[in-house]
């Protein structure tokens, strides 16, 4: 007997296979595109260490870390977004809701303004990343503590606390910018737009380790997230340890998004639009939604980064601008036809 559950699952399987096949293709295109254009065969040769030295250098040293970093960060942001939308039972939730992005921005701004002479070259970049990560974690911690009472964590309070902390971090950030000089201002605003131009092998390894853990950990909560959509009490009646699940989800998302903001700045709309799009095609079952979102997020960010390098070459656009430019039209069209797929928000 074929029912829609079987059909949805088949479609989900097909979508995941399709996305998994598409990802290496966009990665190849991304490796070939840029100021020096390379064909797929040249790229593959360069990856194996064959061909011209210049091509090998460009592909292995410059583009490979960048494209892979884009893929991993896109996957992390999209999967985190899917998990947050499930946890908040709101298809319009976004990983930045828990305050992590605003906190990270503030942390980075603080380091940029206060860092002074320490901020030259690679160490400076690392310092900014550390500041961003610490700021993000601190913000999430405050939000979580605010929402935590004797009766557990209230998701609604957390949403409001997230908004409050985001506003506070934004205000302090503006205050910093008000007193910052022109050089600092430009660095802050460039950092906020997000960019993958700082990609390097050490940064890639850091991303692989941390985000890899997040990408493995989050799908383990897929069944719990499915029951959470019914409501927190209902999930509890179905045997889910709701408080532990909430803590784990928030922790992993904070680490994942905190790392991504620290490494590549704020990248808009990946965490919001991708899970939404995937849910539209295969439904809200997180066992499929989470991996499919991760793959699609990786594809989107690799494509956006490739475009950011190609559109105005040799000038690079901040990738956050591209994701928003691709994301917003999608999102608006989704909002306009939301009733077609049974979404009521």
């Amino acid at each position: 007997m074929i029912t829609s559950v079987s059909k949805r699952r088949q479609r989900a399987g097909r979508l995941i296979r399709l996305l998994a096949a598409l990802l290496p293709i966009v990665v190849l295109v991304g490796l070939g595109s840029g100021a020096v254009s390379l064909g797929p065969i040249q790229v593959l040769q360069a990856l194996w260490g064959d061909g011209e030295n210049q091509a090998i250098m460009i592909v292995q040293q410059i583009r490979l870390p960048r494209v892979l970093l884009a893929a991993i960060m896109g996957a992390t942001l999209a999967m985190s977004g899917a998990a947050m939308q499930g946890l908040f039972r709101n298809p319009l939730a976004d990983p930045s809701l828990i305050g992590v992005t605003a906190g990270a921005s503030l942390g980075a701004s603080l380091i940029i303004v206060m860092g002074g002479g320490l901020l030259q070259g690679f160490t400076g970049l690392t310092l900014i990343s550390i500041g961003a990560f610490a700021g993000g974690m601190l913000a999430v911690l405050v939000v979580y503590r605010l929402a935590n009472s004797g009766n557990g964590t209230s998701v609604a309070t957390m949403l409001l606390a997230g908004i409050a902390i985001t506003a506070l971090a934004g205000a302090v950030g503006s205050l910093l910018e008000f007193f910052a000089d022109n050089e600092h201002l430009r660095r802050i605003s460039l950092w906020k737009m997000g960019g993958l131009d700082s990609a390097s092998m050490p940064r890639l390894w850091l991303a692989v380790t941390v985000s890899g853990a997040v990408l493995v950990a989050l799908p383990r909560y897929a069944a719990a997230l499915n029951t959470l959509l019914l409501g927190e009490s209902e999930a509890r009646y179905l045997g889910i340890d709701v408080d532990r699940t909430k803590l784990a989800l928030i922790g992993w998302v904070a680490v994942g998004v905190g790392t991504s903001v620290a490494l590549v700045g704020t990248i808009a709309f990946v965490g919001l639009v991708i899970p939404h799009l995937i849910r539209l095609t295969i439904g809200p079952d997180h066992r499929y939604l989470l991996p499919a979102s991760a793959l699609a997020g990786a594809i989107l960010l690799v494509v956006a980064d490739t475009l950011s390098r190609v559109v105005l070459a040799p000038t690079e656009l901040p990738v956050g601008i591209i994701t928003a430019l691709i994301g917003v039209p999608f999102f608006v069209s989704l909002l306009r036809q939301r009733h077609h797929y049974g979404m009521q928000t």
């Binding site: 029912t3 829609s4 559950v5 949805r8 039972r89 298809p91 009766n151 069944a223 499915n226 029951t227 959509l229 019914l230 409501g231 009490s233 209902e234 509890r236 009646y237 179905l238 045997g239 889910i240 340890d241 849910r279 439904g283 809200p284 079952d285 797929y341 049974g342 979404m343 009521q344 928000t345």
Partner: protein, 259 residues
């Protein structure tokens, strides 16, 4: 066999006493109905038994063990609760919603879908199976949620009975579906499941339940068979309503007619 024993239980989840000195015992296979005016503590009693908040006094034992000693995962295989309101607003299909009821069990996809289908049949929702939950009417949603909790405790547990808590399961249903759901609840009880349900329709309560528990202001007013409990005096004192209590032409249970 006594499955659930509530002994002099009191609870004050928000600092105010919501339930005081409640005692009742549920046997496997028995249907008990909670009745009482709005705000009497009926839903709170169900939530207390489901473990939503802690006891301030007294004890609750499920299958001989204090409720607090049960792990969530263990309890979920034997205790299902259908709350009054559902928050679900994600576009699951009806069958997916019912399959969520199988989450606590590790019976495998094939068995789960078999049970989901039977639960759908018991609530007359098989034809809705492929529809999106968010596009259903209120009554249809209620039947789907009912099928979900049925699926959770569908098969008999190897170590003893199960308990089904239902908060106004028929509130949004038309007459035909009310009767069908009543029959489905009776069938589940017939397989050894204890059922505790809140209903506002006292005639429905008298028809499905062998025992009625009357609550008012968080206290237990009286407990007994429908014939013992449903008297004009009770309605006058508790609901401030004048009624006529007659013998039902079929089966002899009391029939309450509002005046």
């Amino acid at each position: 066999m006594t499955l659930l024993r509530v002994d002099a239980a009191s609870a004050m989840p928000w600092g105010v006493p919501v339930l005081q000195d409640i005692s009742l015992a549920l046997d496997a296979g028995e249907i008990t109905a909670l009745i009482g005016p709005n705000g009497a503590g009926k839903s709170s009693l169900l939530r207390l038994i489901a473990g939503d908040f802690a006891l301030s006094q007294g004890s609750i034992n499920f299958d001989g063990q204090p409720l607090a000693d049960w792990s969530r995962a263990q309890l979920a295989t034997r205790l299902a609760f259908l709350p009054q309101l559902s928050l679900l607003n994600f576009p699951y299909t009806v069958e997916e919603v019912v399959l969520l009821g199988r989450t606590p069990h590790a019976t495998g996809a094939r068995v789960d879908r078999e049970i989901a289908l039977q639960a759908l049949a018991a609530t007359d929702t098989v034809t809705l199976r492929d529809r999106l939950y968010t596009q259903l009417s209120g009554g249809e949603r209620q039947r789907v949620q009912l099928a979900r909790v049925f699926a959770q405790i569908w098969e008999q547990h190897s170590h003893g009975g199960q308990l089904l808590l239902l908060d106004e399961p028929t509130a949004a249903l038309d007459l035909a579906h009310q009767q069908q759901v009543a029959a489905a609840i009776a069938a589940i009880a017939g397989r050894g499941c204890a059922v505790l349900l809140v209903v506002h329709d006292v005639n429905l309560a008298a028809a499905v339940a062998r025992r009625l528990v009357v609550l008012d202001h968080g206290r237990q007013v009286t407990t007994g068979s429908p014939a013992e409990v449903l008297t004009p005096t009770l309605f006058r004192e508790l609901f401030h309503a004048e009624v006529l209590v007659q013998e039902h032409p079929h089966g002899g249970r009391p029939l309450v007619i509002g005046l």
